[in-house]
């Protein structure tokens, strides 16, 4: 009987011959990521009274959610993390200038095909963009894994999503995912490993694969996965990771899936998730004209280089509508460096954007939150009440192209009018 990606990758990380969906195994993750919550892990470790870590080389820390610190408490938490990393020989430590943990780790060659990664962040499914199995866990569990080296995992059932392309003009991976989430529901893939297949996915950029795998969390997924191919290998090679440094895991052609879902991307239109749920999705035609106070281009879902380039392409020659705030928060220092080098930074500023330091920004309730009654159109991955400031504010989610068009109009707008 054929095996899915999840069954194979967990068998390897658990050191057992084979696994089948439903089994519970002790898994040794290749990487344990903790972000802004790292200080909670350290405090928990102090309570446990243990100081010896299983393997400091399997630990990565990135200071992202509230960076740089804007309270003495956060500053002290970050200081604690810095000192802990130094004292325990944790070499994969990125400080407040680096950006969002997921993007930073992928851009810097820490994520490789076939790895199992746990992180203190629900969007850890993003690592599937490079053929790795990533999933979120709580901070106590990260602490326990720092010490024990393993944690329990139930081998998930898998859902196969077949996407037929090329995508319709004016749409992108974000529209694909919003469409899927709208159809399958916020719990449509709960506990499941979601595998993306089909001619659209083959040859797709790593940036767009990241958007697919990131948003899979919003269907409740445990893992997301895009089969590694030449695009994956080239992305890794650019970061000095050669094929002898990893082992790709591919699902068998006769693997058993809980279900298969097909999506035809050739007739897709831009999609918008409306307040206050990610699965409350409408085609752009249904919501165009809705007034906004703010547009946010940021988050691990859509603030990569390609996302900002797409926004700049639409914004060039235009200006942000009067009274509207356009806040751009690059996902990482790497992204910031690239947009400065090739003029995208200037184009965004000239169009009226406020560009913040790299990081999670407004998506984590940091700089760029809203007052009562305000409306933001955001490229992030969540629109629950209170996600960006006031519980009496509203968030719409869409692609970078929709965000750029909306900033120009001051109301939700179809990017195809500008392309």
């Amino acid at each position: 009987m054929g095996k899915t990606f999840a069954e194979k990758v967990l068998a390897r990380a658990a050191g057992v011959g084979e696994t089948t969906a439903g089994m519970v195994v002790d898994v040794y993750p290749d990487l344990v990521m903790s972000h802004a919550a790292s200080w909670r892990c350290i405090r928990t470790l102090e309570k446990l009274g243990v100081d010896r870590l299983y393997d400091p080389d399997r630990i990565a820390m990135v200071m992202d959610h509230t960076a740089p610190a804007h309270s003495a408490k956060t500053a002290a938490d970050q200081k604690l993390c810095r000192e802990f990393a130094r004292a325990h020989g944790i070499r994969t430590f990125y400080d407040v200038e680096a950006g969002i943990a997921h993007v930073v780790l992928m851009e810097n060659g820490h994520i490789r095909p076939g790895m199992v990664i746990i992180g203190t962040d629900s969007h850890s499914t993003i690592y599937g963009a490079l053929g790795a199995a990533g999933t979120g866990v709580g901070f106590s569990e990260v602490t326990a894994t720092w010490v024990a080296g393993y944690l329990w995992m139930r081998v998930p059932e898998s859902i196969r999503i077949e996407i037929h392309g090329p995508l319709a003009w004016g749409t992108s991976a974000k529209d694909v995912m919003l469409k899927l989430i709208g159809e399958m529901g916020a719990d449509g893939a709960t506990y499941a490993s979601v595998e993306f297949h089909g001619d659209y996915v083959a040859g797709l950029s790593v940036s767009e694969r990241m958007t697919l795998c990131n948003l899979a969390m919003e269907m409740g997924a445990k893992f997301a996965f895009v089969p590694p191919d030449d695009v994956t290998r080239a992305y890794l090679a650019e970061r000095g990771v050669t094929p002898d440094g990893y082992q790709e895991v591919q699902p068998d052609p006769d693997a058993v899936y809980a279900k298969t879902v097909a999506l035809d991307g050739t007739s897709l239109s831009p999609q918008v998730a409306c307040p206050h749920a990610v699965d409350n999705v409408q085609p752009i035609e249904a919501v165009a004209g809705t007034r906004v106070d703010q547009v946010f281009i940021g988050s691990c879902a859509n603030a990569k280089y390609e996302d900002l380039a797409e926004a700049a392409r639409i914004l060039r020659g235009h200006h942000v509508a009067p009274g509207v705030r356009l806040i751009v928060t690059p996902a990482s220092r790497g992204v910031l460096t690239r947009i400065v080098a090739d003029g995208i930074f200037s184009a965004l500023v000239e169009a009226g954007a406020l560009i913040t330091n790299p990081g999670c920004g407004a998506c984590a309730g940091d700089g760029g939150v809203m007052a009562d009654g305000e409306v933001t159109l955001s490229t992030a991955n969540r629109n629950f009440q209170g996600r960006m400031g006031s519980y009496q504010a509203s968030i719409y989610l869409a692609s970078p192209a929709v965000a750029a068009a909306t900033a120009i109009r001051g109301a939700i707008a179809d990017p195809r009018e500008f392309l």
Partner: protein, 163 residues
Amino acid sequence: MEVRGRCWKFGDNIPTDQIVRSDRALAPMEEIVRHVLETLNPAFAREVKPGDILVAGKHFGQSSGRAIAPKALRATGIGAVVVEYAARLFYRNCFEIGLPLLECPGITAGVEDGDVLAVDIAAGTIRNETRGRVFYARPVDPFLRRMLQAGGIIPLAAELAEE
């Protein structure tokens, strides 16, 4: 492992941001606990008593995986959370911090807010004393029951280290 108390009933798809407002997540627990689920039922945090049972619908605890949500629920003194089914990360976090969670498809149709429930975690039974009905939850893995008995993964790790 048996608890008995008043049923507090909530709906479907409740995100962790509604269990603990994100702008309160960094406050001390004494402060957080006074506001648990405030946007959905302001009476809950005021009136909940140790041993009460929280019942909710499908996909409870979706969205951000912050463990402060189950921690705050535990701090209210509730004896158990019984849901149609939980979001994956919330499920894990409950056991990790020692808050009993049962997944019981059909539970929301069989209980109303204010009913008196008796929950046996080990047996996985929920007895509605007000209406005289019994519900059977999905079994909890033995190693997760042990984690609950220890009070969560950190006390369990300490126990295991001593053995």
